[in-house]
């Protein structure tokens, strides 16, 4: 990149509205939102972006993005995104889902969209709990982790083990980009931004499905202060290693 192209670091992204986020203090949704808006700006796709909001803490996506947004029923974001993209291939279509939405109630729709190699970008915010409903067990809850529906901790004999979605999707030939990122250190924030960019290139270059999984802090439901919650994300990386699992871009 030539130095001329480097933007001043703190301009406000065009694709983001100025409405303050409603997220809890220390929640990582806000960082993910900002990165997504920056990438939409950088790729110049704001005027053809089509976002699918899902059910969960991020269902108010439309308050924060200055792009067209459709709300999908719980879990069906990847199917709705498929319809929009097939109907108008010129659109840059993305979904923004939580781990419950993407990997529990919507796992079928998510996996089949990836298997078909839909030219869409799916973003999964993995915070190991159902955030909006108050911190219940999710498919990515760690063994032993206490949630409101596993008060003694997730017992693998009862609930089995967390789903490693990025690793599963990495085996699909239709997936053109697949990564797991975190945003609890500045370096990771930059890596997450690059992953998002590539996940969009996967569809813009007509290569296949793009997927980025964010390990994301949920201080409220983890019952931690924001700083400890951000540190806790490091612990999550033991079960959910960070990295790019597949990249055809």
């Amino acid at each position: 990149m030539s130095p001329k192209k480097i933007k001043p670091p703190l301009t406000f992204p065009r694709s983001l509205t100025e409405r303050p986020f409603h997220y809890c203090p220390g929640c990582h949704h806000g960082i993910a939102h900002r990165l997504l808006a920056e990438v939409i700006d950088e790729l110049g796709i704001r005027e053809r972006a089509y976002g699918v909001a899902s059910i969960g803490c991020a269902c108010f996506l439309y308050y924060y993005y200055d792009v067209d947004i459709c709300e999908a029923p719980h879990g069906r974001a990847c199917a709705a995104a498929t319809g929009a993209k097939r109907a108008r291939p010129e659109l840059a279509v993305f979904t923004y889902q939580g781990d419950g939405d993407f990997a529990a109630i919507g796992l079928t729709e998510s996996l089949h969209a990836a298997a078909r190699g839909e030219r869409i970008t799916a973003i999964m915010i993995n915070n190991t709990v159902y955030g909006m409903t108050g911190g219940q067990l999710s498919p990515t809850t760690l063994p032993g982790q206490r949630t409101t529906t596993t008060p003694e901790g997730r017992d693998p004999r009862v609930y089995g083990y967390p789903l490693k979605v990025a690793e599963i999707l990495a085996q699909f030939p239709g997936v053109a980009f697949c990564a797991r990122v975190a945003v609890n250190t500045p370096k990771r924030v930059l890596e997450a931004r690059e992953a998002l960019r590539r996940a969009f290139l996967a569809q813009l270059e007509d290569r296949g499905f793009g997927y980025v999984e964010f390990l994301s802090a949920c201080p409220v439901n983890w019952k931690l202060d924001p700083v400890s919650a951000a540190r806790k994300v490091d612990e999550l990386t033991e079960t959910f290693p960070l990295g790019v699992f597949r990249d055809l871009t």
Binding site: Y50, D68, I69, E71, A72, A84, R86, A87, L91, H112
Partner: protein, 349 residues
């Protein structure tokens, strides 16, 4: 124009193509596979999209995504598949999306059977999903009408920004009849809500969550107003009303057997009328009310345990007697069976 010999399901697909349907999403289920199969052959040729989904649930959500961008699109299924779609029907209605859905219904409950049944009348007219909403419901009785009503469904769904459902059954879906595939005028309506990219306009949102004080109520009032406005689309076929003492009422393919029975009775001199609702929602109350005011009694014949009879009773509002001839699947009645019942009804007087 030369007629072509096609099945009812094919006529529906041809009607959709005539209306400019660009995308089809669906999942195989008997007895409606001729619709996706014809679409799989024809849509790609015309630059459209055919996609077989992993389930009816996925199919109807693909439909949601496609119509949200402002293109004409449809799905089709049969009873159990329609149940799976029901969750998203509620969202389609809430987002006010002009989606077209076809139910070539079969017997139920559960897996039921694959023969003709009208057991999905309540599901279609009361809204199968959660919340206060309605679909516009059209029910053809012939293959020609299946073609034309399907095209009409696309037009009306855009006119009212409203999902439209074609309710037919295995009998009409599977039988063959000559169809004149005439050109149809399908009006287009402005789509100033479509999500086709915020180019030179503010970004748009399609959402159904309303948490602000009074918002949800206002939203429901708006929908209610629309459903009331849709009443002007109510349509029915009414025959032999003049001097009738009894009106026999049926919808869909069964209405053809019923019509034959009515004509049989009239030949013998019985004063019998025939009423066939073409729109099931809005229900064509007017002809029922008018006949009731003249003291005409009703016999409602259905291939179920008695569902439409409730709408007939609501329409006549206690002014006349309404009898139900409820015939659950799977045997079809002969015109003579219905004729005998007509005779009994009239003799009892």
């Amino acid at each position: 124009m030369k007629p072509v010999l096609v099945k009812g399901s094919e006529a529906i697909a041809l009607g959709a193509l005539e209306a400019g349907c660009r995308c089809y999403f669906g999942y195989p289920i008997t007895p409606q596979n001729e619709i996706p199969e014809l679409m799989a052959r024809e849509l790609p040729k015309r630059g459209g999209v055919f996609l077989q989904a992993e389930s009816e649930l996925a199919a109807v959500n693909m439909l949601l995504g496609a119509v949200s961008t402002g293109v004409r699109a449809m799905t089709s299924s049969s009873s159990p598949g329609i149940s799976l779609m029901a969750e998203t029907f509620s969202y389609l209605a809430a987002l006010e999306l002009p989606a077209v859905i076809v139910n070539v219904s079969r017997g139920g409950p559960g897996l039921g059977g694959i023969e003709a049944s009208q057991g999905d009348y309540f599901q279609a007219t009361r809204g199968a999903g959660h919340g206060d909403y309605h679909f516009l419901v059209l029910s053809p009785a012939s293959i020609q009408e299946a073609y034309e009503l399907t095209a009409k469904a696309f037009e009306l769904s855009e006119k009212y920004r409203q999902p439209a459902l074609i309710l037919t059954d295995a009998l009409l879906g599977q039988m063959k009849e000559p169809l004149i595939p005439r050109r149809l005028r399908v009006r287009e309506y402005p789509k100033d809500w479509a999500l086709d990219g915020a180019r030179g306009r503010p970004a748009r949102v399609l959402k159904s969550l309303f948490l602000g004080p009074g918002e949800l109520r206002a939203r429901n009032e708006l929908l209610k107003k629309k459903y009331r406005a849709m009443r002007r689309e109510a349509r029915a076929e009414v025959l032999y009303a003049e001097g009738a003492e009894l009106a026999v009422c049926a919808f869909g393919s069964l209405s053809r057997i019923v019509k034959e029975a009515v004509e049989m009775a009239r030949k013998k001199g019985y004063p019998v009328a025939f009423v066939r609702p073409v729109t099931l929602f809005p229900f064509p109350e007017k002809p029922f009310r008018e006949l009731a005011l003249r003291g005409v009694r009703f016999l409602v014949v259905e291939l179920n345990c008695g569902q439409m009879v409730e709408d007939v009773r609501l329409s006549v509002c206690g002014r006349t007697e309404v009898e139900s001839l409820a015939l659950p699947p799977s045997d079809l009645p002969a015109p003579e069976d219905i004729y005998r019942r007509i005779r009994r009804c009239l003799r009892r007087r």
